[in-house]
Structures are given as structure tokens and as C-alpha cells.
């Protein structure tokens, strides 16, 4: 039989296999990196109508989170403050600042500020803020150190896997109840070991048993 293909073609199958393996690896890595909330959500940092500086208010001035987000501990929803809340102070402080013009307009017209929502849980997720805040889970565990952010960004992925990570191992995040709103708090010497040691104690003491069934979040 005459040769239908030149001798070099012997290596073609190996090349094809190699290409396929590389393509598959690239696709897997690409999807793992670009198609998960770690990439699609983390880092979202929209420009708000008023450049509210969390690092100034919650950091330097030491305002408690609950002053503005007042319903977090008592309801499933943690609210964005109304214009009234801002004006409690800003009627006196920087009352003529041009940066606050949209706020004053909202105050005068009665139309709410159009704050841009950063953390959006899907409709099929029933997340309850009060359940977490009243059992030693700090704001910082899900929202990062907002007291250090000049402009707030989406700090954690908020994927289902990320939720379950904590529901499966709550000792990595749970803290004494009085430290929930102290975003700078760290257990003992600040090491993970100290956190886990204290976390285990709290889990035992409060009999914390985070649900892992579908019904817990999807009803």
C-alpha cells in the first residue's frame, strides 16, 4: 500500500491529544476564575450619587453600623438609611457642602436618594440579617472591613459555596456578641488558631447549629 500521508503525520495524533489536553485545562481554569462570583461579584464598586465615605463615618468618627443600618438586628433586611438619617447631622454639619447637594434636594423634594445597591442576594435566597447578627456573626464577615473603605465595594463572593463554608465551619467566624459591630476585632493574638479555639467554645455554648439543608435558604 502506498503511503497516503507523509511520515511527519505520525506525530499528528500526539499533537492533537496535546492540544485537546491544553484546551481542556485552559477552559477549566478559565471557567473556575472568570465564571464564579469570586470574579463576577468581588470588586464591584459603583459610584454613588453622593460620595459617602464609610472610612470617615464608621472609621474615624466611630459611628456604629446600626446608627444608619438600623433594622439589621431586628429584621431579615438590613436597610439603607433614609435621607432623614443623614440630615440628622448634616443639617448642622457641612450643611452647605456642594458635595451634599443631591441629599438636600432629596430632603426638599421628598424623593429618596437613588443609592446603588451593591450586595444583591438572588430572589430565591432567604437571607436573614438578624439571625446572623444576634449570634455572633459580624458585619465584617460578609461585607469586609467597611470602616476602612472610602468607597464601598463588594468584598466577599457571596456564592452559595461561600455561605456553606461558614455554615459548615462556623467557628472560623463566630465572635462574642458584644464584638459583632466592632469591625476591627480579632480573637486573642489575631491568629486563626485563637479564633478557632474561641469559636469552638462559642459554638458549643450557644449550641450553634447552622442549617445546611436546601430549605434553610431556599423555601
Amino acid at each position: 500500500m502506498a503511503n497516503l500521508f507523509p511520515k511527519e503525520s505520525n506525530i499528528v495524533p500526539i499533537k492533537i491529544i496535546l492540544c485537546k489536553v491544553i484546551t481542556v485545562i485552559v477552559i477549566i481554569l478559565g471557567i473556575t476564575y472568570y465564571f464564579t462570583p469570586k470574579y463576577t461579584r468581588v470588586g464591584y464598586k459603583p459610584t454613588q450619587p453622593v460620595a459617602f465615605d464609610h472610612s470617615l463615618h464608621a472609621g474615624q468618627l466611630g459611628l456604629d453600623c446600626r446608627y444608619c443600618h438600623s433594622f439589621g438586628t431586628v429584621s431579615s433586611h438590613s436597610n439603607v438609611p433614609t435621607t432623614q438619617t443623614c440630615m440628622n447631622c448634616h443639617r448642622q454639619v457641612k450643611s452647605n457642602s456642594p458635595k451634599l447637594a443631591p441629599l438636600r434636594e432629596s430632603w426638599e423634594t421628598g424623593k429618596p436618594m437613588k443609592w446603588i445597591k451593591i450586595h444583591q442576594a438572588p430572589d430565591y435566597v432567604y437571607f436573614n440579617h438578624s439571625a446572623h447578627l444576634n449570634r455572633g456573626i459580624s458585619c465584617a464577615s460578609c461585607h469586609g472591613k467597611v470602616n476602612e473603605m472610602e468607597v464601598v465595594w463588594h468584598d466577599k463572593p457571596h456564592s452559595m459555596g461561600w455561605c456553606l463554608e461558614c455554615h459548615r465551619n462556623p467557628e472560623f467566624h463566630i465572635r462574642p456578641q458584644e464584638e459583632v459591630f466592632n469591625l476591627d476585632w480579632k480573637a486573642g493574638d489575631g491568629s486563626t488558631k485563637a479564633q478557632v479555639a474561641q469559636g469552638r467554645e462559642l459554638v458549643k455554648k450557644w449550641d450553634v447549629n447552622p442549617p445546611q439543608n436546601c430549605q434553610a435558604c431556599h423555601r
Binding site: 500500500m1 497516503l4 500521508f5 464564579t36 462570583p37 469570586k38 463572593p157 456564592s159 452559595m160 459555596g161 461561600w162 456553606l164 463554608e165
Partner: protein, 479 residues
């Protein structure tokens, strides 16, 4: 044949006459030889496309377009376009899935179990039966994939790490099903393709056009028909046969677990796995005959697919059909003997409830009609065979419908009883898959050797190293 016969004079006319009487009919008729087999099978591919083929191709192609149309409508509008609703959440879709998956069983049975049990008659039917298996599994796979509702999440069934950090539930038979069917499809493809390799080489050697020659060369992996290659080939084929044999039994057993592991009366039955496997082989062989007899007649393959082959397949249908009939009767017996009122009601409702017609349709098509194969005359008449096998073809669809719909439309709570009525989209999708199946088969018979050339050559007398010519009645050693 004449080996070791020392006490009998093997040359006496009486002996020869007696030997002729008990001799098995040859597997290739009319004493056809190597050359004829190659010419006959290759001519189907190499010849001009017949007009009937084009007509059938366009008709079945048009029907198979119903599949994408129905699915687009289903996905864009919602799963309610199927008649599914409470309490009948599984209906035509799962019926069709089990129906097609069952049909896919004959191919592997012929290729694997008959190979391991050295049934040489498998050689001229295994290629087409395996092709039919693959096409049936393709049709079957459509239904559960879209049954999940949000088909774009069907990949959740695969155990891959993902952002939801959930893992498929390995305690669910529905997941076992995913693995069983995908393994079955993969092994069947490998088996089918391995068998095709020497035949692709035959086509290559006969081909004149260079591009086609090159294509066949690639498809045959550069097969040279050397002893060494044959040695590896046969070992690979044997290993794949060994792998597929348990699959023949496991796939439909696992399909039956989808029902048997539940608590619904009529589903919760230990007899299900063997009963499903027998039913699958029964329906599969019926479909093999349904598609094989027409192309046997059209291409004049009577010398390759002989009366003996058809006879054997009819007998398998008779056997498995009787097993299925026994299972039906045993279910009825247990419904009475168990004393369980729910079980008893489920079967009373099947036979006399609102779906009585499907139950009796199943009984007539699956149990009574195949009994005609006890009669030799029917097995020898291809037209009769072709008509009779429509019994199992229809009956096996009815069986799945009976099992699924009649069991769940009336369960423990009379307040939740209901009825199922198929919607147009149920019907178009099923008709579409029938078209797709036929269309794929038409493409197969036009472009690939429908009969395993190399294997059939291996079962003719000339392939025996001791062959001494057709005039030698003993065909054996010098005495």
C-alpha cells in the same frame, strides 16, 4: 465435525446423510465467499444514492425537526407545555426515556453477551444493532435532560466542584441513572467504533478518490491488517465485550431503581430489575427486526442475514416476552397475595381504572402477540415477523406508560388523585425522536458498512484453517 470419530466410519453414506441432517445451517447463505461479502456490503456505500433513500431522508429529517422545535417551545415557555402536573409529574417524558433506553439494550446484548457466549450468528447483525443502540440512547437522553426543567443547569448532575459547593446526591437512583446511561453510551460507542476499524480499512483500500481514501485511512487509524494488529484488535474487542456485559444488565436495573426505590404502590417492587432487563431486551430485539428487515430486503442481504438469524431473534423475543408476561402475572399475584390494600388497589386501578386501555394494550401487545413465534411458519415468514414485532414495539411503550402514569395518578391520598392528558408538545417531541432515530439510521446505512465485513468473513467455512473445499463433506482433517 469428524474429529475423534474412530468407531464410526465417517465416509459411509449413512453417516454423511445423518451428519447433513443435524448440521447447522450455514451463517452465510448460498456458499458466498470472501469477495462477494466485501462487494455486497461495500456496494451499498460506494454505489449511487438510491432515490428512495433521498425521499426517506427528507421525510424523516423533516419529522426530526420536531425535536428542536418542541424543545425550543418547551424551554422558552416552560415545562408546563408538557402535560405534566400534580400528581402526575412523570409522564410521557420519562415513558419515552425508558422506552428508548430499553430499545438500546439489544445492541449491547448482541455485541457483548452473544460474543462472550460465542454465538457466531451475531456477526451479521451486530453492527446495525449497535448503531441502533447508539441512536436510541441519543433519543433517550433528550428526555431526562429537559425533564430537569432548567436544562442549562443539567450539568449540576455531574460531580464537579462548583461555586454552590453542593455535590450530587449519590444516594439517589436518579443520579445512578446519569452514570449508568452515560457509561453505557460511552462503552457502546467504543465497542461500535472498534468493530468498524478493519472495515474502514477495507473501504479505504477500495476507494479511488484520494480525499476519501485519506478520510477512511484516518478513521481506520492506519489499519494494515497485520497479525500483530489483529491480535491487539481482538484483545481490545474481548475486553470491551467484558466491560459491556455487566452494563446490559446494570443499565436497565438502575432505570428500574428510579421507580423501585420509591414507596409508590406499583413502583415499590423487588421484581423490577430483572423484569425491566428482560423487557428491554424484548423491546430491543423487536426494534432490531423492525429496522433490519426492510434494509435486508432493499439491499438483498438475504444471504448474510439469513432465516436462521431471524429465527434466533424471534426466539429471543419469545423468551423475553414470556419472562415479561410472567412478571406481569406475578405482579398481579403479589398484589393479591401480599394483602396490602394499596398494592391491590394500584393493580386493580391499572386493569380496570381510567387507563384500562393502556394496561390491556400492553398485555395484548407484549404477552399475547409474541406467542405467535411458537409457530415455525411465522418465524420463517419475514412479513409476518415484521408485523408481529410491532406488538412489542407498541406494547413496551404502553408498559412504561402503565407503570409510570397509572401508579402516580392515584396514590395513597384520594384527595390528590388526578388524571394525565398529553399536550401537543408531548406528542410532537415523541414523534420527533422517532423521526430522529430513523433519520440517523438512514444516514448510518448510507455511509457506514451495515454489516461487519471482517467478522462475517470469519464465520464462513473458508475461514476455517482446515477447510478443504466445498466438496469435502467433513471439512476436517485428512482421516
Amino acid at each position: 465435525m469428524a474429529h475423534g470419530t474412530t468407531s464410526v466410519n465417517a465416509n459411509s453414506p449413512d453417516y454423511i446423510a445423518a451428519a447433513k441432517q443435524v448440521e447447522r445451517p450455514p451463517l452465510v447463505g448460498n456458499g458466498r465467499g470472501f469477495h462477494w461479502i466485501t462487494e455486497k456490503i461495500c456496494s451499498i456505500i460506494e454505489g449511487d444514492t438510491p432515490r428512495w433513500w433521498w425521499i426517506a431522508f427528507f421525510i424523516t429529517g423533516a419529522i426530526s425537526l420536531l425535536v428542536p422545535i418542541s424543545l425550543i417551545y418547551l424551554v422558552s415557555t416552560g415545562i408546563g407545555t408538557w402535560g405534566l402536573n400534580h400528581p402526575v409529574g412523570w409522564a410521557w417524558d420519562i415513558t419515552n426515556f425508558v422506552f428508548w433506553i430499553g430499545i438500546g439494550h439489544a445492541g449491547t446484548l448482541i455485541s457483548a453477551i452473544l460474543f462472550l457466549t460465542r454465538q457466531k450468528w451475531r456477526t451479521s447483525i451486530n453492527r446495525a444493532a449497535e448503531a441502533m443502540t447508539l441512536f436510541a440512547v441519543v433519543c433517550a437522553g433528550i428526555f431526562p435532560a429537559f425533564h430537569v426543567g432548567r436544562v442549562w443547569f443539567a450539568w449540576f448532575l455531574a460531580p464537579v466542584p462548583q461555586a454552590n459547593a453542593i455535590w450530587p446526591n449519590f444516594r439517589s437512583p436518579l443520579l445512578w441513572d446519569v452514570f449508568a446511561v452515560s457509561t453505557y453510551f460511552t462503552v457502546s460507542v467504543l465497542f461500535w467504533y472498534t468493530g468498524l476499524i478493519p472495515d474502514f480499512a477495507t473501504l479505504r483500500d477500495r476507494e479511488v478518490k484520494v480525499w476519501k481514501k485519506k478520510l477512511y485511512h484516518i478513521l481506520s487509524f492506519g489499519w494494515r491488517s497485520s497479525n500483530r494488529q489483529w491480535k491487539h484488535y481482538e484483545m481490545a474487542y474481548l475486553c470491551l465485550a467484558g466491560l459491556s456485559t455487566p452494563l446490559v444488565l446494570s443499565v436497565h436495573s438502575i432505570v428500574s431503581f428510579d421507580f423501585a426505590t420509591s414507596v409508590i404502590p406499583g413502583w415499590h417492587t423487588t421484581i423490577f430489575p430483572p423484569y425491566f432487563v428482560a423487557g428491554a431486551i424484548f423491546g430491543g430485539f423487536a426494534m432490531v427486526l423492525t429496522v433490519m428487515l426492510p434494509f435486508r430486503a432493499i439491499f438483498g442481504l438475504e444471504d448474510l442475514i439469513t432465516e436462521k438469524h431471524i429465527d434466533n431473534m424471534c426466539k429471543i423475543i419469545l423468551l423475553t416476552g414470556s419472562i415479561v408476561g410472567y412478571a406481569y402475572l406475578m405482579e398481579l399475584f403479589i398484589a393479591w397475595y401480599s394483602g396490602n390494600p394499596y398494592e391491590k388497589y394500584a393493580f386493580w386501578n391499572r386493569a380496570l381504572g381510567p387507563y384500562w386501555w393502556s394496561y390491556w394494550g400492553m398485555m395484548i401487545c407484549n404477552v399475547l402477540i409474541p406467542q405467535l413465534f411458537w409457530v415455525n411458519k411465522f418465524r420463517k415468514n419475514v412479513v409476518a415477523v415484521w408485523i408481529i414485532v410491532w406488538g412489542p414495539n407498541i406494547g413496551m411503550w404502553y408498559e412504561r406508560f402503565v407503570i409510570i402514569v397509572t401508579s402516580i395518578h392515584r396514590d395513597f391520598l384520594p384527595s390528590s388523585w388526578g388524571m394525565f392528558k398529553p399536550e401537543l408538545n408531548d406528542i410532537t417531541l415523541f414523534v420527533g425522536t422517532c423521526g430522529l432515530f430513523t433519520w440517523l439510521f438512514l444516514v448510518f446505512i448510507r455511509f457506514l458498512p451495515v454489516i461487519a465485513i471482517a467478522e462475517v468473513k470469519g464465520v464462513i467455512p473458508e475461514a476455517d484453517p482446515h477447510f478443504h473445499g466445498k466438496e469435502d463433506p467433513k471439512g476436517g482433517h485428512h482421516v
